[in-house]
Structure formats: structure tokens, C-alpha cells
């Protein structure tokens, strides 16, 4: 009886409408105002502007309403489809490859008894190299005619591929570059792995669980928030992939920048043309900012879609585990 009375009292207390002190709402708004200002200025306003400009012919100086013309053009432009598919490829293949590779290396580093410090430095160092320099170095190393990699392969009687010069090889080669620079992800995974309580493994070993079972039933569930973080940030990064693809494409094509020449992004055969590159090129080199805004909205929708899918999947996995 005592307990039920107590519960009823608590329920009553919770149900009673709270009386706000005067000025409380304003104070809350003031405390939140830096965040509200940030989100408004850097997210809401640009987003609304992008939507607004997408219905206009906008050459950065003059604005003219043209209804859905930019949308009609964008959805019939083969370069949009090509760049969207290239971006999708990076999301589907490059991101998982990077996560799996980083997790594998981190596992090895976590198990090392000695020499771990040197190896950690070796794996982390590439991520300190500026991405432009790293990409240019990769293009030179993998030059099909003069690059040392193909010369080394030839020494073993293997005809090396045309790496960045072949439409079939260009994206996988970019993936190799991404793996080479996965130092940050490796370190994050290593920290997460070292944080998994040892006694769980010891208990599982006593119960007869093998290495694979321990990994599946202990390691993965424990580090799943870190995995989710890496996957989500990896997908967002892949959707916004720009610099490496642009530099690799430009250097491998041997394109020049003199009067009467232009560089067509995406060499070879548009295989390295990502959606952000196409957006940039359309807006700032073709002077079609209205059309570029359609590309930007498409990019935003794709990034949102993938992020939501990932969050949902990881949410389900967490509930199951």
C-alpha cells in the first residue's frame, strides 16, 4: 500500500504542468543562440539558398527564374549519371575496403608483443602526407611506362596495368591510395581494440571459443560504436570525394593549362569524375551555379540516404547484440 501511494504521488507530481519562471524561455534561447546562429548561418541559410538558386539561371552575377529547367537538364545529363555512379562505387567499395583494411591492421598491431611502436608509426605516417603530394607521388610511382612499380612487376615477368590511365583500373587504384592513407582509421580502431576488456577474451577462451568466435562475439559488439563512426564518416567522406580524384585525373592525363586548352575532369573516360567535381566544374568553370545547386542537392540527398541507412543498420545490430 505504501508503495502504491508513493507511485501515485510521483505520477501526480510528473503529470502536474511545470510552472516556468519568467524569462526562462528567453534565457534558454540565449544559451542556445550560438548553436542556433551557427546552424542558421552555416546550414539552413545555405540549404535554402541552394534550393532557391536551383530554380534559377545563375551565372554568379545575374539571376533569372527558369523553373525546373536545371532539374530537367541535370537528370538528362550523362555526366551527372556517370559522376553519381562513380561516387556510388567509392561508397560501396572504397569505404568497406578501408574499414576492413584498417580493422585488420589494427588487430595485428594490437596483438604485437614487440615492434608495435615502429609499425604504428609506419602505418600512421602516410596520413601526415598532404593529400595532393601523396596523390601526385602515386601517379608517378604507377606511371605505366616509367613508374617503378610496373618496372618492378616487369622484372618478375608481369605486365603491370595502366593504373590511373585505364578506366577499369582508375578507381581501384584510388582505393589503394585510400588504404595507404588509412592511418587515422587504423589508430582509432587500435584504441578501440585495446579498450576491449581482456577478461572477456579469457572467459571466452575458457569456454572454448576460438579466435573467430571471440572476434565475432566479443570484439565486434564492443567496438561497434567505433565501427559505426568510421563507416558513417567514411561514407560522408566518399560522397564528398574530390581532391585525390581531381589531382590523379589531372596529373595522369598530362593536361595542360595554356590558352585554348581545357582540362576535362574525370580522366580516363570520366572514370574519376565524382559528383563533387562535376558540381564544382559546373558552378565555377561553366558559370552554371543554378545547375550546380541541383547537383549539390542531389549530393546532399545521397549523403543523407547513406547515413540514415547506416545508422539504421547499426541501430539494429546494437539491439541484436
Amino acid at each position: 500500500m505504501m508503495a502504491s501511494t508513493h507511485v501515485a504521488r510521483r505520477g501526480h507530481a510528473l503529470a502536474r504542468p511545470s510552472r516556468r519562471r519568467p524569462g526562462e524561455g528567453l534565457r534558454a534561447l540565449l544559451w542556445l543562440s550560438p548553436w542556433i546562429a551557427g546552424v542558421t548561418v552555416f546550414f539552413v541559410y545555405p540549404l535554402l539558398s541552394t534550393v532557391y538558386f536551383s530554380f534559377h539561371r545563375y551565372d554568379l552575377f545575374t539571376l533569372e527564374f527558369i523553373g525546373l529547367d536545371n532539374y530537367r537538364y541535370a537528370f538528362s545529363d550523362p555526366r551527372v549519371l556517370q559522376s553519381a555512379l562513380n561516387t556510388l562505387w567509392l561508397v560501396v567499395f572504397m569505404v568497406p575496403a578501408q574499414v576492413v583494411f584498417a580493422l585488420g591492421v589494427a588487430q595485428l598491431l594490437a596483438k604485437l608483443k614487440s615492434g608495435g611502436g615502429i609499425l604504428r608509426t609506419i602505418f600512421y605516417l602516410p596520413s601526415l602526407v598532404p593529400m595532393v603530394a601523396g596523390t601526385v607521388a602515386f601517379v608517378y610511382l604507377l606511371n605505366p611506362a616509367t613508374g617503378p612499380v610496373n618496372q618492378l612487376l616487369a622484372w618478375f615477368g608481369i605486365a603491370g596495368p595502366d593504373w590511373f590511365g585505364s578506366a577499369a583500373w582508375a578507381k581501384p587504384t584510388l582505393t589503394l591510395l585510400a588504404l595507404w592513407g588509412a592511418g587515422n582509421t587504423i589508430m582509432i580502431f587500435l584504441a578501440a581494440l585495446l579498450d576491449v576488456p581482456r577478461h572477456l577474451y579469457e572467459a571466452a577462451a575458457i569456454d572454448g571459443a576460438g579466435a573467430w568466435r571471440q572476434f565475432r562475439s566479443i570484439t565486434l559488439p564492443t567496438i561497434s560504436p567505433v565501427l559505426m563512426f568510421s563507416a558513417v564518416t567514411g561514407v560522408i567522406y566518399a560522397v564528398q570525394y574530390f581532391t585525390q580524384a581531381m589531382i590523379a585525373s589531372r596529373v595522369a592525363s598530362g593536361a595542360t593549362d595554356s590558352a585554348g586548352t581545357t582540362f576535362t575532369p574525370g580522366y580516363p573516360d570520366g572514370s574519376l569524375l565524382t559528383l563533387p567535381q562535376h558540381l564544382f566544374h559546373t558552378g565555377f568553370r561553366d558559370w552554371s551555379m543554378g545547375l550546380a545547386c541541383v547537383h549539390a542537392l542531389l549530393l546532399f540527398a545521397v549523403a543523407m540516404l547513406f547515413t540514415l541507412i547506416l545508422l539504421r543498420q547499426f541501430g539494429k545490430a546494437e539491439v541484436t547484440s
Binding site: 524569462g23 539561371r57 552575377f61 611506362a145 598530362g254 585554348g260 558559370w287
Partner: protein, 449 residues
Amino acid sequence: MRFVPLVAAGLLALSLTACTAGKEAPPSLGAQPAASGTGQAAAALPPATLELWHGFSTDVETKAFEEAVAGFTAKFPQIKVTTKKGIQDAQITQAIRGGKAPDVAASFTTDNVAQWCRSGAFQDLTAVIEQDGIDLGVLPAAARAYTEFEGRRCTMPLLADAYGLYYNKALMKGGQPPKTLSELTELTKKLTVRDADGNIEVAGFIPSFQYYENSPSHLGPMVGAKWYEDDGTSAIGSDPAWKQLLRWQKELVDWYGYDKLEKFRKGLGDEWGAEHPFFEGKVAMILDGEWRNAMIANDPEAKDLDYGTAPLPVADDKPELYGSGFTAGTVIGVPRGAAHPQHAWELVKHLTTDTESLVTLSNALRNVPTTKAAMEHPDLAKDANFATFLDIFDHPKTTSMPASVNSVFNQDAFSTFLIQWEKGAVKDLDAGLAGVDKRIDDKLKLSGG
């Protein structure tokens, strides 16, 4: 109380608007008393400090440009000029949009002239040119064409690039440079050296559209090809000259073997470095700009190269084109929002029409001076190799890439097709070129052309 933040935001917005609304619009060109540049009229301009943005970046270039500007300040002692080097077009555009435009801006590319003219980002110079009695006939027709758009002259040519043929005399073994495409093919086959596996060791001429300067705009003048119809739509599919060029080019690519040629091309050194294949004797003939003369002269390894220059070979059935070529160059103008537009125009006028200034700049930078008087000036340094490009620039049939609001897009669309063409992925040339036309025309429609 809940509306207080909204009211505060509104007041803030109003105050910001008030801040900007009170500003006076910057003066536009022609609104101030005119000055002709000498004597009393020059003194009529009040003292001012001009800001000049340009793309020159190396020490030699910047020094030469500063000297040309010094000639102006000697003429107008009350005007100071501060220069900013290494400026790209995007920076100029952004500054104009942000209301922070310099007084004078120069660009290395002509690709943005149409947009700058159409949008009014650069001010129309027509009125002041007429006011000052400047005869634009002192400029070759091609240079006039690439500096204006639809009757709006918003830029002037500063220095120009002209394109011709460079040939390695040692590799040519006494042979004369080709004058027709047939001769070029024949010579290419004769001069090309392969190893036992058929790999190219020395190429006579690289016909690939992907090779350094072999863009369609540079090669098009060899057959007199035109880019646009009079209404601005694409003429690529309808002008038989392009098909003539493409078929000749493909035949030569196939003779090499596309894969062999690509392997050779990809193994070549950087275009702007000391390992340029022409310097190293890996290519006997190249299409290049007049600036290559200076690069050869300044390269410690290549300076003794025995080479010659000539106009580009032309279609066998169009001998009248021989001597012409492609030209484009640096453009300079007065952006919208310039603080001192009239002073700025005087500076633009000096840099683009003063013979002494152009000769000084050309001698330092080894680019083609843009006026006929400068080209004929006795102080202009011109050996035989450089003189070739002066003649090409002045040739009545020399052309430029016509100004278009979609200049970059159109070149991209065509270049993308050409890569497919030379690798043999295009089965129907007519249909392929019609596809290029469609892409260009659809984009033109979207751009309001």
C-alpha cells in the same frame, strides 16, 4: 517575451541593411572627365592609388610587368599602382561579386571573356575607346575577336600567344617542315623510330588530342574548322572541316597503333619541365606556342637545341590557310566596382596600346605583342624562330576560339568525344559529332544563349 529574440534579430538585420544602403555605388567608366594621357588632360585626373591584379608569377614575369607599369606612373605621376601577382580568374570573379574588385584585372585565359562581358562583371570599354579615338584596327582581327562578346568590348588584349610548328633540325636530317597534312603524315612515318617490339622510341609527330597542346582549338585552324554557327549553336557536326581533321588524325593514330602511342605518350616528361620530349629529342615535330622559344633558351640542357619553327601544315585542299594558326592571349579590363575606373582605363590603355610598353613586355616575356606598331618596332627582339609567330599572329586567316558563354563546357564536350574517337570507340563519326552538337546546344539553351 517570446518575440524578443525575433525583434532583436529584425533590428540587427535592419541595422545591417542601413549600413549597406548608405553606401554610394562606385563610379562607372566614362562618368569622370576624360584624359588622353599626356599634357593637360593627364593632369586632369586627380591623384589616386590603383590596384592591379594579374596572373604573372615568376620573378622574370613580375619584374617585366612592373617595368611596364612604371612607364605608366612616369606618365601619370599623380597615380600610384599597387600590383598583386599570381591571381586566378576565380579570385577576380569572387572579388567583383563581393564588391572588392580591383581597379584593373588581367587574365591569362579568354574562356571567361564572354561571361564577364555579358554579365557586366567587366565594364564595357566601347565608349571610352571611341572618346579617346583609339583605332582598334591596330589589333589583328583575331585579337579583337577574343576580347569582346556580342558587341561589348569589356577587355583589351595585352600580349598574345600564337601557335605553330617546332621541328628538331637534327632529327629532320635536312628535311623541310611540312606544309600540308599529307606531308606531315609522310614525314611522321619517316622520322618515327621503333624498337624490335614495335614500341615507339622517337615519334615524328604525336597526333593524339590528349598530347600537351594538341587541343581541337589549336589543331582546328589547320583545316579552317569553325566552332559555331552565326546564331551561336555548334557547327562541329555540320562543318566538314572537322571530319577532315579527325579522319586524318585517326589514320595517323592507327598507323602508330593507339596502345603503342598511348604508352609512349604516358611515358613522356612534364610539359613545363626540363624533360620535355622535344628537348630530349623524343619527338621530331610538335605543335606549340611562341613561349616555347623562351623556355628552350632558358633551359640549361636545351638551350643549344638546333630547332626551327614554321606555320602549322594545312589541309591539302586549302593551301590558302598556310601561314595562319591559332591565337589567344592575356586580356585586361576594368571590373565592375573599380574605385577609380577612369584612372584604370588610362592604365589599361597604356598597357595595351603603348608601343614602347608592349615592346618592353614582349622582349621580357617573349610573348607576341598585340599591336601592329609593336610587332614592326625595331626594338622588338625577333630572331627567325620568334618571327614565325609574329607572322602567324598577323595572318588574316588566323583564328581564335570564338567567345562563348559556355566556352569551357563546349571544349570539354568536344574533347571528351575526341578521346573516344582516337581510341576507336566511335563507329559512326556523323552521329558522334551530332551528339556533341546536341550537348553544346542544350547547354547553350540552358544558359539563355
